[in-house]
Symmetry: C2
Subunit: 162 residues, 2 copies
DNA sequence: CGTCTATAATAACGCGTGTTATTATCTCCG
DNA sequence: CGGAGATAATAACACGCGTTATTATAGACG
């Protein structure tokens, strides 16, 4: 197999740069909200799923549970969300939006919609659809590769308890 | 303007997730190298541009100069790179690969090539080309938006010296 | 019933990133 | 020349993310 073109070799960096710049663009406009992008993601999912556990929210947001703990710590301090004990499982917490958070959600979507439309203003509708489709496929593939790797590490750990 | 579809609204998160999963996939295989993805990026650019300044490297890698300082600090500690004083500018440093780093570069590319080909194994050549093209356009657009914003902040700062 | 494994949340550490501010130096212009 | 503004690098602080390890509890199974 000949070495891939320089252009192709840049793909990983390209995705990363787009992600970074996109986040930057969003957070520049979301500044007044005092919310970061991952925090917005949490709010967006919580809006439609109040009462879920951290573990479930981690699944929905595709966040590492440990990462989520810290994000929620800050969001709790900032009075966006609340942790309440789960009556049926003393290990778990149920997550709720605080009243103070609710009015912000609409503004958040508005900013998100605008930031996105600016970002993709150089694509027409069909191209945008293509981009979503292609990224979606790669995403699904990477998720499989990831869970496969996580699986085999877990199996490894089971084989070597200590 | 009607609110965009849920699918479209996911675009920002999607890009971010792909970036995160891609990085994860790469670093899982690059583990033996003891190198992170940004560090690989530094090495890759340094390989073809030895002797450049940090500021120039920051441009090439599209990294925040402050971020680069810290990355280079670690890479210097880990004996990947060297900072030498610039004889013509006492503020600046010139960056060089250490001999120890050079043998690793080939392995790095090999891992990068493999990680990428796995990641995009679900795309055919044409789709891959499309993805590169679309992402490239969005990237360029976001860069413009970013530099425009940076510009106006700089102008702001000039207007308000203190 | 008790033991063993899985799960929910968290602690602690290192890295990358963005932000604001500081220091030293350069450069250019009056 | 000399002072003003730009530039190279860095310091300090907060956030997100991955990793390993720990604690408490749940659930399954002999």
């Amino acid at each position: 197999m000949p070495p891939p073109s320089e252009r192709l070799r840049n793909l990983g960096f390209l995705v990363r740069d787009v992600s970074r710049l996109y986040g930057r663009h969003f957070e520049r406009q979301a500044r007044e909200l005092e919310l970061t992008l991952p925090q917005c993601k949490v709010l967006a999912h919580l809006q439609r799923n109040e009462g879920i556990s951290q573990a479930r929210l981690a699944e929905l947001t595709e966040t590492d549970p440990m990462t989520l703990v810290r994000t929620l710590d800050r969001m709790q301090t900032d009075r966006w969300v609340e942790r309440r004990p789960d009556p049926s499982d003393r290990r778990a917490h149920r997550l709720y939006l605080r009243e103070e958070a609710k009015p912000v959600l609409a503004r958040m979507w508005k900013i998100a919609d605008q930031a996105r439309s600016e970002a993709i203003s150089v694509l027409n509708e069909k191209e945008c659809e293509q981009l979503l489709e292609l990224l979606g496929r790669v995403h699904q593939n990477l998720q499989q590769l990831d869970s496969r790797a996580t699986e085999s590490r877990a199996a490894e750990a089971r084989r070597t308890p200590l």
